[in-house]
């Protein structure tokens, strides 16, 4: 019996805007304590799916369950336990950081006092900026303030839609550390959407990839990004001789394509040293050899396309 508590269940979700189908068939499950990567290239339907999960958009079909309850029938009850940032966090520019948080706390169902708000601003590294108007904040500061507002009511689950977009490298590291801190120290369940596989790989333990509004793959990050199974690009002086070698000595290797003197094939990482040795033994000159993990290669193709 599966005893894992399911925090998010998205089942065959679709959303059509007039003639445009932004989401066709997206399904995935997020378990308690997960840092769940929601991955897809730009325009894949990530934001639309997240908006459906937060009742900003009504799905055309399919359903969303959070904490085991249907969003459509338990909206307020569910949203009391969710903190989120959708795309970029927008605030009332003419109000101070403190006043903005007061406004969002008031309708989040908690009575946050000034001390709580200052503590939260301190947590996200905005201490000393309490009275400053948001109009003067940088993008990174607004992201931090966005995280502060999403945590004000101490939610069990946090949904962050591309929280590092537009940040400088240091800002990305800071936000990433903040997310890891929330997961490790406060045991929050976090859904993090991104179009960067590298980002998800660092932070998430489970992930789903969607493309063109459809779920492509879902599972453990460590399993999906298996470092043993690689896609290799090898540039040689003699393609015919190399193909003959592969056929005779490495029957398990499947050549995917040839481009001039370049071969693309999938191979287990452990076979690469042996392959190089045997090429050298047959006087095959290797000009270049590069490897990528299978999923990474697939994802890069998706993004490129």
């Amino acid at each position: 019996m599966d005893t894992t508590e399911k925090m998010i269940e998205v089942n065959h979700l679709s959303k059509r805007f007039d003639s445009f189908e932004a989401v066709k068939d997206v399904s995935f499950t997020v378990n308690k304590g997960d840092v769940f990567g929601f991955l897809g290239p730009n325009g894949a339907g990530k934001s639309t799916t997240i908006r459906c999960m937060l009742s900003l958009i009504t799905p055309t079909s399919g359903d969303v369950k959070l904490f085991g309850k249907f969003l459509a029938s338990h909206r307020s009850e569910i949203l009391k336990r969710v903190g989120c940032i959708i795309e970029k966090p927008d605030f009332y520019k003419y109000l101070s950081a403190e006043r903005n948080l007061e406004i969002f706390a008031r309708i989040s169902g908690v009575d946050s006092n000034r001390k709580d708000i200052h503590r939260m601003l301190d947590f996200v590294g905005l201490n000393g900026r309490e009275k400053h108007k948001v109009s003067g904040f940088s993008h990174g500061m607004k992201q931090r303030l966005g995280i502060a507002q999403s945590l004000l009511h101490n939610p069990d689950m946090i949904i962050l839609d591309e929280p590092t977009t537009g940040l400088d490298p240091q800002g990305i590291i800071d936000i990433r550390n903040l997310i890891l801190q929330l997961s490790r120290e406060q045991n929050k369940t976090i859904l993090l959407s991104s179009h960067q596989l590298s980002e998800i790989e660092i932070i998430a333990n489970r992930m789903v990839i969607i493309n063109r509004g459809v779920t492509v793959i879902e599972g453990e990050v460590a399993h999906l990004l298996n470092a043993q199974e690689l896609i290799v690009r090898m540039e040689v002086n003699d393609v015919a001789l190399t193909l003959s070698l592969l056929k005779e000595e490495f029957a398990q290797i499947i050549v995917q394509r040839e481009e001039g003197n370049v071969l693309h094939f999938s191979v287990n990482r452990n076979h690469i040293p042996d392959l190089i040795k045997k090429c050298v033994a047959r006087d095959i000159l290797i000009y270049a050899i590069e490897s990528k993990r299978k999923l990474e290669d697939y994802f890069i193709q998706m993004v490129t396309n």
Partner: protein, 280 residues
């Protein structure tokens, strides 16, 4: 939650510079009218009194605070809707334009309550505008021009109301003016639910008021059945309080039509806002 959300709306309105534009505009406009009447008011009212001078003799302080307040109201009530729409037309669409509607709509407050808090806040702002207009027109007018009987020229002729009989008429007049402006507020908030930019609902509100006013004033039979149903027709009903005898049935009809307009506009807004996909 409704009270908390309404408090939020008050904070937002109070913090926006454009909210003070209406109060400042009323101050300047009334100030200009008071100055003009103080400087050359007698020649202004001689247009009214000239036709009666052969049959009537006017004694005492004709150009008093009560008459000045009446003139101010008559001049400004038709222009105040712009000042109201400037703030209320932005209440929903402004949030969409800023992106904050996303944040609000993901909080555990129903969209109906969120919207109702905006209607309440818009209503209170409208009330403040009307109160400020009252203070500027009646009180400042009386301080500068003194008090006295009120002479009103309406379609039935010249009506002279005694000073002791005027206070309650102003209260009633301002109450109906408030209801009319509340309808403008509801209309602009309703239009705001259909838009994601701030300017659209404000301009559309004014366009509707202008269109309805033209329909209301065009003496064409084809509009005869429509005219009594337009809220703009009842925006000048405050004047009915300065008739003698008081046209109670007419005032009641105006109040009912304005209340119905408000209810219908609120219901349309709730229907639209609850079904709106927030994509901004």
């Amino acid at each position: 939650m409704l009270i908390k959300s309404t408090l939020n709306e008050f904070i937002k309105i109070a913090a926006k510079p454009r909210s003070y534009l209406g109060l400042a505009a009323i101050t300047v406009l009334v100030g200009v009218i008071l100055f003009a009447l103080k400087a050359d008011g007698m020649s202004f009212i001689s247009f009214v009194t000239a036709s009666f001078e052969q049959t009537l003799t006017f004694e005492g302080n004709i150009l008093n605070g009560n008459l000045v307040a009446f003139i101010v109201l008559q001049m400004l009530v038709i222009h105040i809707p712009l000042l109201v729409a400037l703030v209320t037309g932005d209440l929903v669409s402004g949030e969409a334009a800023m992106g904050t509607i996303r944040m609000l709509a993901t909080k555990p407050i129903s969209r109906t309550k969120l919207l109702m808090s905006k209607f309440v806040a818009g209503g209170v702002y409208t009330l403040l505008i009307v109160i400020w207009l009252g203070i500027m027109a009646v009180f400042v007018g009386k301080v500068i021009f003194g008090s006295g009987d009120l002479m009103v020229l309406n379609s039935d002729g010249l009506v002279i109301l005694q000073e002791a009989d005027i206070g309650w008429r102003y209260i009633g007049g301002f109450a109906v003016a408030f209801l009319a402006l509340l309808t403008v507020s509801s209309l602009s908030i309703c239009l705001s639910c259909f838009s994601d930019n701030s300017i659209g609902p404000i301009v559309t509100t004014m366009a509707i008021i202008i269109l309805f006013t033209i329909i209301g004033t065009l003496d064409v039979r084809v509009f005869d059945n429509v005219r009594p149903l337009l809220f703009t027709t009842h925006m000048a009903s405050w004047r009915s309080f300065f008739e003698d005898p008081l046209p109670v049935a007419q005032i009641k009809e105006s109040i009912v039509i304005l209340v119905i307009h408000n209810i219908v506009l609120i219901l349309i807004s709730i229907f639209k806002f609850n079904r709106k996909d927030i994509t901004s």
